[in-house]
Symmetry: C2
Subunit: 231 residues, 2 copies
């Protein structure tokens, strides 16, 4: 049972800190304050300082944080200090795009292989990365000690694929399939369900008042006024 003390939401902020620090180091900025990190990231300065102190005291009072030093620390906190080899399950539209995306845009992660069931795709390449038969997955995971996988297969196949890869050692799954995956204890799943992201955004895209009015016009149950978010 890792990290009794640090929350999932906090951990999601660290890659954002890292990205900002990457930029600062590149721009040869030596020091940065929590206030400056705040305006770059959108998180409060207090929250940033709090997040960092979960792992140590990396700053200098009165001066701020050394960008190169803090960057190195965050890389180690996240676990990006050794190259992370990842596989992509599914070579469809999304799997292909994700393979390319991570190869070009993600400086800390390496997609080393793609797996698919379609014989027409096996043996082909996405850029330089081979598409293998899904039957080769167990051997590949074990010989290459793969711990992180991206699942981009259709909903109907996702659980089966999750079972397969976790059985052979995968500990973390970025799941793009629109299903809840059931995985053994100790395996982490992040859902990156694009349908849900987009649908929940629609809630915010139009005047709530109108929509909720429509909702209640057809609602037979009596509403107590304070359960409404308008007025």
């Amino acid at each position: 049972m890792p990290d009794r003390s640090i929350s999932k939401t906090a951990i999601k902020r660290f890659p954002i800190y890292l990205r900002i620090l990457d930029q600062l180091v590149q721009r040869k900025v030596d020091m940065v304050s929590s206030k400056e990190l705040s305006s770059e990231s959108g998180f409060s300065a207090e929250q940033i300082r709090k997040d960092l102190t979960y792992f140590g005291a990396f700053g200098t009072r009165g001066a701020g944080y050394n960008t190169m030093f803090l960057r190195e620390k965050i890389i180690k906190i996240i676990g990006l200090d050794k190259t992370i080899d990842t596989i992509v399950m599914g070579a469809g539209n999304l799997g292909t795009a994700l393979t390319r995306y991570n190869s070009t845009k993600n400086p800390y992660v390496n997609v080393v292989a793609v797996f698919d069931r379609d014989p027409g795709l096996i043996g082909k390449k996405i850029d330089e990365i081979n598409i293998h038969s899904i039957d080769e997955t167990p051997g590949y995971i074990e010989s290459h000690k793969i711990r992180v996988a991206i699942v981009a297969v259709p909903a109907g196949a996702a659980q089966e694929v999750a079972d397969l890869i976790t059985k052979h050692g995968v500990k973390a799954i970025l799941n793009f399939a629109p299903v809840k995956l059931h995985v053994p204890e100790g395996v982490h799943v992040h859902n990156a369900d694009l349908t849900i992201e987009l649908q929940s955004l629609i809630y915010y895209s139009s005047a709530n008042e109108e929509r909720l009015k429509r909702l209640h016009q057809t609602t037979t149950a009596v509403q107590s006024p304070k359960t409404l978010s308008l007025e």
Copy 2:
């Protein structure tokens, strides 16, 4: 100022409820309890009941929820009761995959146009959807009353694109570019930053103990023991 009372995290659960109800209706299941919805979704039954009562009393004590009725209510709550036309900014790998994905996998959202800057892409199609010049964006947004957009352009172009589309009426952005977008008040941005999702997952993929040990070996600052998540 909409929804003083309901949180962003709660709203993200509604599309998941909807997906489950879609399946139940399709399977001709008439009634469902919060307990059953809980085991399907992974959220607690109490939380599901709480979420629903933000918008009304849709169930029957002793019996549960009528699946068709609840489904209709949730569609209206999210705002999916009229067709949502969406545009995709950027026809690169990711933009293309997202266009196809939403066309085929997202039953409630319609991608109606894609925009890009590359003259080599303009005039081509992604499946049946035309790729337009980015210069046509303002006119298109206004004439088609587009309120929701997906941004899948390179990081360097994302702010500029966000400025353009919000200026002409877009109220909600699903942002795949790895930058923090600054948008006018009242515009909502969901970040779907794949790099960050994957990097934060890596934190969970290996033994924390080892990593944190490495971290502190090179830390000069003295640590108070309780700030550590191990021992």
